[in-house]
Amino acid sequence: MSFLEYRVKTAPTGLRKVLHLNWALVVLVSAVSAIGFLVLYSIAGGDVGLWAEPQMKRFGVGLVLMFGIAFVPIWFWRNIAGLCYGITILLLISVEFFGTVGMGAQRWIDIGPIRLQPSELMKVTLVMMLAAYYDWLDPKKVSRPLWVLVPILLVVFPTFLVVIQPNLGTSLMLLMGGAAVMFAAGVSLWYYGAVLALVVGAVTAVFTTRGTPWQFLHDYQYRRIDTFLDPAADPLGAGYNIMQAKIALGSGGWSGKGFMQGTQSRLNFLPEKHTDFIFTTLGEEFGFVGTLTLLVLYGLILFFIFSSAMQNKDRFSQLLILGIGANFFLYIAVNMSMVMGMAPVVGVPLPFLSYGGSVMLVLLIAIGLIQSAYVHRLR
């Protein structure tokens, strides 16, 4: 069996595992979450119960979950990767029929007290599945067309299920997250070049034929794309949110207006101020100093994730950690680009800051997997 590959004896056992956790990561994640509690408390106008407290509870549950996962040997997780992937796909299909739609068209199901968005869970299980696939595959075969097609199908199927929810942000992250694992696994750059050329060609074709009799899309579809790409063209509609977000960030200045002093958030000018746009409140109240601190913390988290991947010699662990790291990066990059007006608005939360149960739990589960790989790494 494959777990024999690990020199089991070198891995710590029992409670000694606690000493071998990547504590830097735990501290950094807790620090970012603490900033999140502070901002949520401020946005609620000094009300702990509204957002900060539930968020703390979720963090607590997530932390327990993280330790639990970390204590389980990584090879166990590899062995059930396929199962996890399959279950998540089933959940995705079931929310299509039984799920609840709301809040930017995300679909969720209520499992007891937990409100679960399978699309968030999919980000992790997809990475697990792909890492397990490449662990199984002979590294020499990774760039062969047939063996490239298999992971592409593994990525595209859940992406399709999410895109019809419709949830554009998450489906884009699934695509990019999957591409990142394949990239790390060593799939030839030619494939990436080809896909890029294909996308550029398709986009050019769609837009150059606009206004001609053989245009690909209907006029209203073109207009929808226009507003999506340039919300400023519609300052009272789609552009309103992004303008208010920029005002909040910019008016914070160097050191911000001070804790609980943000006018944009307190007077409700900001949209989704406690979820996707929470970064703007941070910027308004703590200024450039605050936002840069957050960016540095995120950067450190990514650094520790990447270094733990590179210290690890196990292929599954490496790919899993890099895939999770890529997803973590994508959350940050897409969300910040969006609220700072550099990218169209798609619903992607900011990790550990945005109010929301699924994302918090899924992120901590992912960190748990990284810890498991770290504790049980080949030494």
Partner: protein, 647 residues
């Protein structure tokens, strides 16, 4: 499946290379994000800070309190009345339906009212108060105030609205205010922002309009913090505005009221002027209307009633009405002739009852003629032929020059609406207006104030004041602004020959006080207040030959709107003139019988400062006049004590 160690090492290195590439790309992206943060919060911070302030801070104007208008003694003519209204706020009311239902048991609310309120509530944000009832009676208002605990969201409010306590007495002089219209805004090059306040009112006619800038004052403002949906969070700063300045008119509200009542239901105008200062003491036009109707927004029915009335209540006949002055104009012809040296006070002419000119015959009003008359007799008996003869020698241009010198055919600048210039025709005027040469017949008509000559009661009053004093008296309406008296230099001399003035005054004395005077029945008997005057009866149209054949010979036989206008001008006391008066009664008939008694009573009222005492009248008339005065007293307005301070 077990791989050899070399393969594993190799693939792990490969993954690490790829990981470094990814890490590098991610780091680059983080650098971009950091740069963007810096750009937004440091480089552009000032701009965004401004935008954030603009978002959150609104300016609201505080409408200024409009200046009061008072009479010369401080009696209130136009004030600001507390206006009680009831509003409802949806978010405080909870169940709007139930609250409105309870409210409709307390105050009268029609189904239409309720419908409108519900519509307004649906249209507005939940925190916007919607007016349920405006101008609520005090009783209803206090009922609501008592019941507020059971009426959540209902607020009784007090606002200010313009009020005219003297109702129709000053409807023409002071006018009224109304909501700002698109037209009002279009006429202004730089409209005061306060005009855009909903329900703000500005002067529409009269003093209210022409002194608008003085009365309006300037708006204060407050800076308030609002949230994204416009709810007011708190007030940050407040600058009080400046209330409009109070204006005191020269008019005496009691005299104005007396004259207005005295004219009863005639279509008439009366102007009383202080001959020494030009101050208008009364300036009335009957019938009047209730300006308060316009403040509230006049109903279509009330408006058409006013429009359809053939006595034209909306017209300010005192300054706007242009009438042929009739025989009152003989004063001008006489002065022009004396100045030109065509006649002396002793020159006589023979009146056979008409003169022939070419193939036309111009009649004197008296069929048999007046025989030989001099200037005094000609005024006393209003002989037309004397003036026909004299005017031909003087010429129209000299008469027109004298008319303008005495204040006819020129616009007197007062803060009132639609002030007419009148017409003081001369040869050039006719050429310009009608493209025709002036004929001698035109001069003959003009000499007795018929034909082209038109004058307003105001102009006739000014003329009379100038005759009484020999000074270029200018009428004025504003006594003080904001407590500061409006200074006017004493009127300059008219540079008229004293003998000529005295001759005309003597004629006017004879009109009232001699045995054959046309207005002797309206004389004042009190030696200290003797009155001088001149009657006038101006034809609206000639009685046609056909009517004559049907037996129509006098006014009473004609329909009202074709009867003659009755005019009278006069001043008193004779030896030391104080007040001049001009009265026009439209289609009233004879000046001596209809207009002169009104003028006499107006002068007596102004001179005595109260209801005219009976002994001022000739003994024979006292019985009849006592009854009339008693009847009149019943109708006088009882005004409150003078109000000099703001409510």
């Amino acid at each position: 499946m077990r791989r050899n160690a070399r393969d594993s090492e190799e693939s792990a290195r490969r993954v690490n290379r790829r990981a470094l590439l990814m890490g590098g790309a991610f780091g680059a992206m983080f650098a971009v994000l950091g740069g963007r943060m810096r750009y937004l919060s440091v480089d552009q911070a000032d701009e965004f800070r401004l935008l954030a302030e603009e978002n959150r801070i609104n300016m609201r104007l505080i409408p200024p309190e409009r200046g009061l208008i008072q009479d010369r003694n401080g009696k209130l003519i136009a004030g600001n009345e507390q206006n009680y209204r009831v509003t409802i706020t949806r978010e405080d009311a909870g169940d709007v339906e139930a609250v409105l239902n309870r409210l409709s048991h307390l105050i009268p609310l029609t189904a239409d009212d309720l419908e409108r309120v519900k519509k307004d509530i649906d249209r507005n944000s939940p925190f916007v108060p919607v007016i349920v009832a405006d101008r609520v009676a005090w009783g209803d208002f206090s009922k609501i105030a008592l019941n507020t605990p059971t009426l959540p969201g209902v607020t009784p409010e007090v606002g200010l609205s313009r009020h005219y306590p003297l109702v129709e007495d000053f409807s023409h002089v002071v006018g009224y205010v109304g909501p700002v219209s698109e037209k009002d805004l279009a006429e202004l090059t730089d409209p005061d922002p306060v005009l855009k306040i909903p329900k703000f009112q500005i002067g529409k006619v009269g003093v209210e309009r022409w002194m608008e800038d003085t009365l309006r004052g300037s708006a204060g403002n407050k800076r308030i913090e609002v949230n994204a949906v416009g709810r007011v969070m708190r007030e940050l700063e407040r600058t009080e505005g400046k209330p409009g300045a109070d204006i005191q008119l020269t008019i005496d509200a009691d005299i104005q009221n007396f004259v207005q009542v005295r004219m009863a239901d005639q279509s008439a105008a009366c102007v009383v002027i202080d001959v020494n200062t030009g101050e208008l003491i009364a300036c009335t036009s009957a019938p009047g209307f209730d300006p308060n109707l316009f403040v509230r927004g006049i109903s279509q029915r009330d408006y058409s009633t006013l429009m359809e009335n053939d006595h034209r209540p909306l017209a300010n006949k005192a300054v706007q009405g242009a009438y042929p002055p009739g025989s009152t104009f003989k004063i001008i012809t006489a002065l022009a002739a004396l100045k030109a040296g065509v006649i002396t006070p002793e020159t006589t002419h023979y009146c056979p009852g008409y003169i022939e000119f070419g193939n036309r015959r111009f009649h004197c009003w008296k069929h048999g003629g007046h025989g030989t008359v001099n200037l005094t007799r000609s005024l006393e008996q209003s002989c037309d032929v004397f003036y026909y003869e004299v005017a031909q020698k003087v010429g129209i241009d000299a008469i027109a020059e004298m008319g303008k010198r005495m204040g006819l055919g020129v616009r007197h600048d007062l803060p009132m609406s639609a002030i007419t210039d009148g017409i003081m025709p001369n040869k050039d005027w006719k050429q310009e207006r009608w493209g025709q040469d002036w004929r001698i017949g035109d001069t003959i008509n003009a000499s007795i104030g018929q034909g082209y000559v038109l004058a307003s009661p105001l102009q006739l009053a000014v003329m009379t004041a100038r005759v009484a004093t020999g000074r270029a008296v200018e009428p004025r309406l504003i006594k003080s602004i904001g407590g500061k008296p409006v200074e006017m230099p004493p009127p300059p001399s008219l540079e008229l020959d004293g003998a000529a003035l005295r001759a005309v005054q003597a004629g006017m004395d004879a009109v009232m006080n001699s045995e054959r005077g046309t207005a002797k029945s309206s004389r004042i008997a009190d030696e200290t207040m003797l009155m001088a005057g001149k009657t006038g009866t101006s034809q609206v149209r000639n009685i046609s030959a056909a009517e004559r054949a049907r037996g129509v010979t006098s006014n009473e036989d004609l329909p009202w709107n074709r009867r003659d206008h009755a005019l009278f001008v006069g001043f008193a006391p004779l030896d030391a003139p104080r007040y001049a008066v001009a009265v026009v009664v439209e289609h009233g008939g004879g000046g001596s019988t209809v207009a002169a008694p009104i003028a006499r009573d107006a002068l007596l009222r102004a001179l005595t400062g109260g209801i005219p005492p009976l002994d001022a009248y000739p003994a024979a008339q006292r019985g009849r006049i006592e009854t009339d005065l008693n009847a009149l007293k019943e109708k006088l307005r009882v005004t409150a004590t003078p109000q000099t301070t703001r409510a």
